[in-house]
Subunit: 300 residues, 4 copies
């Protein structure tokens, strides 16, 4: 018998993930706040509410934009907390606050459900290609049960312990990405001012000590200095940096590099660039050095 | 006929480099400020002064601690500027200021010498094993002539344009290393406070998006939180960060991440840890989060 | 006929303020979460709930610790929103978020009440001695009606426009206080390291360009480097800095000096000094310079 | 018999100071790098070189732009070190590095001269009106001998101990000025974004806790957001902030607020505003909040 899954949230990440589950022969029931996207998941049935999607399922997956969206879908009217069968398991794959993650763990436990936080590294293309890295946190038995689901979605799992720890790991990973962008942004701005070719400098960096996927991908963005279209929107990036700052404050730790990036992102938004990619705060670094914020003219 | 090389500066980097040149069948004449280390370079002759080492050579290599040391050896009494034959070439491999690098380029040009700045990435072990990355900057013809020397010392060269640009590239590379350490230090301190295993988190980082030599090497240092013995001393690291800040100021660019690390290094020194590795400023990050500055007791 | 006032919150600030109102011949009804303090306001009647305190009053004053306390007293069961007579006016004197302030303005308007935000500058001694500075924000007519109340509590009022603007002005004032402490802390730490007498330097500062109440009061704290007992607790100071950062983010402005102080406060708390005065983050500045965090031994 | 004084440096500060000395019936001999300004000091004789100005004098005063200018006038050819009579005293009133100050103390002591560092607080108008604050550092006997000179130049002296301590006190005072500007700049930018009138907020600040000369003067500049013409040029301000950072580093202390302001100043210069007043880095704070960097249109 096929495992039944409720999939809630068909955004740019959720849609390809739901498709991969349907293709992998799971019995998928989908729900999305804005209707209509359900038809883009061949083989899945559409449900009118989160609660309706959960009838009789073994798993409910959520892939939503932020804390309020998750709160609504879980605790709101027609939410999954009340609808999920006892013994079923909620797999929360959104990037949320550690505080909400703790609340979800407790509420589901009280309701006789499992709860796994399973945030991911990877953009829509990676979701499409089943190339996500998945960071599950929760009870070992639940994670073991969910293994076939993770196998259908990504290329590897890194269990992180409890659900809040998995969420924290994801937030710190995103912090590390923006910290990398900040340091590349600062270094390449100095280089460009000194007429040292930023592309050549990046080649040195990736060819010697700094060659990692994040440096390669974002380094090219920084060299090109073109921040539209966005792979991941700046406003969402700011949300994540704020979540990392708050998670750090909860455990009594400062995160000054996070504050630095947060300020740059606020300035980028204050300059009217809400549609920039989250690496677009590099425009502020460039401007601070007296360079044009973005590179224009002939293709970079 | 063998190419003759004067090698000036037999410190922890210079000594293995001079040995590799001697082994590669160059005719090497060595000089060191503190005498006695010359005997550790089998096959090389020892000279009493930098000038004496330069008689009739085709190349003079310098590998010295800082600007004043280079200034002394080049411009001082018995310095190489006056002693080097016309047409010979000075290969400066020390990490120095861009200002001194410009002064060296000009002075050697005026004296009819070539000048290549050729700073390196790599610690003493890399120097020993001919695994250095070399960043030559200068006239193309000079760099071409020096190719056999670079081949005897390292595993690859990344030409950067002019000599000051090569020096700047090296300073920005060191900046990027300490920026990486800073971001890992902040992230892992939050993790440790939250009882998320730092070693497991580092494994996630290196196994997914952040796997680069610098993250692997320094990440382990940050996890271990043990900063002695030093691979590269903190005081020298502070010198390099200050050089990067000054180079950035010369071209009118701020480098706030550099200032942040500089302040942490100053505090590490103010706490009496001059013998720490340059990654030892992580002790200050840990302390700021209320963690013990270094990990003690049973092996980490 | 005497004006009737409900006074909610008899903490270290509220208690002397309620007393001053009772002395000024207002008809005061008091309520406090922890009962028993009511007897310390001679001439006032005690009420069992906020709602009960509000029966038939012309004004309700709140002086509470933070957002949740105000939310509870206003919107909670037995809260004042439902109990206050139409036409009465709520004067909120607590330092709260601009978001909550907007919510209060709207809710009271909808209920047919006036609402004035009237945060204050001044510590308990100033409250005792009717020396508070009051920053009222709200409708002009309401502020005019409240003038006798303000006259009984403080030595001057600075109308700031709307209620949220008054709240913001207070948050920015507190920001300016900690910014002043930060700058004095940094300067005096350098002086002390250089064996330049910090007391003499402070005398220079106050005697020439920098002589203001805030520099005089907190400058002495910084020189003495003794942070207990607290005049205003560090945890409350951190709350206010976070409110300022959030208010700035709402309007799209960074506040890097706020982030710097916030990080120092987090470290002070991580070091276990929750009982320090809010100026106690100077201990972290001192430690960063290699000075003992607090001055000990013979009286400073 | 009148005391003879050599006055070296007739810039915007030096010129009115020399005039005040001449008016006070000192026998003044003046020298300036660019000749011609000597005629603007009625009653003074002009000398062709610093050395010539020093013949037979009791005091030599220097009021010059920076370290190199002082080094040239003291140690250069025709410098005052060789020319000053034994027993005479050099009063250095320029803002210089603590390192140069120490060098001057030692060199003059070796030459049998006194040396007082006597930097000042005050702009050209204050110099004109004998309203300078003077911070003398050096031997008590020398300072006592110089008292009539200080009386002719300023309205008060604050002896700071040794010469380097006086220099440090001045640098920390300038640091405190820019720190004050930074904090006002941040606060007023948030206010302006929130449509809270910055002028009204400044009035609150100066009328309550923050009323000091520096807040009053620079607060108005920040509200006006007009940075030309300069009272004290940005490039000189940056020089002083860098000197403060270096002096702090010498004693092993970080000065993060100094680094923050330094970066803003670098950006202001990178934007082409070398002619701005040193408070002009507020334009960068404004821009970071999405406000126009300077206020334009009708007079502020």
């Amino acid at each position: 018998m096929r495992t039944t899954i409720a999939f809630l949230g068909l955004g740019s990440m959720g849609l390809p993930m739901a498709r991969n589950l349907a293709r992998a022969d799971f019995d998928v029931r989908v729900w999305n706040r804005t209707p209509g996207r359900s038809k883009d998941v061949p083989g899945a049935r559409s449900a009118p509410t989160p609660a309706a999607a959960c009838e009789g399922v073994a798993f409910a997956l959520t892939m939503l934009a932020n804390d309020p969206a998750v709160e609504g879908v879980v605790f709101g009217p027609d939410g999954i907390l009340a609808a999920l069968p006892r013994g079923a398991c909620h797999i929360g794959m959104s990037t949320i606050s550690t505080a909400l993650c703790r609340r979800l763990s407790e509420a589901h436990a009280a309701a006789g459900h499992g709860f796994i936080a399973a945030p991911v590294f990877g953009r829509p293309e990676a979701a499409e290609g089943r190339q996500l890295w998945i960071l599950p946190g929760g009870a070992d038995a639940d994670i073991a049960r969910a293994a076939p689901i993770f196998a259908a979605l990504g290329k590897g799992t890194f269990p992180m312990g409890t659900a809040p720890k998995a969420t924290l790991a994801k937030l710190l990973g995103n912090f590390l990405i923006v910290a990398t962008i900040e340091s590349l942004g600062e270094a390449l701005a100095v280089a460009e001012k000194a007429e040292l070719d930023p592309a050549k400098l990046l080649e040195l960096f990736t060819g010697t000590l700094f060659g990692s996927p994040v440096v390669q991908n974002y380094g090219q963005r920084v060299v090109d200095a073109v921040f539209e279209p966005a792979g991941f929107q700046l406003a969402l990036g700011l949300k994540d940096v704020n979540l990392a700052l708050r998670a750090a404050e909860e455990v009594g730790a400062p995160l000054p590099l996070g504050s630095l990036v947060r300020d740059r992102m606020l300035t980028t938004l204050a300059h009217g660039h809400a549609r920039y990619d989250w690496s677009g705060f590099v425009s502020v670094i460039r401007d601070a050095a007296g360079l044009p914020p973005v590179r224009t003219g002939a293709a970079g």
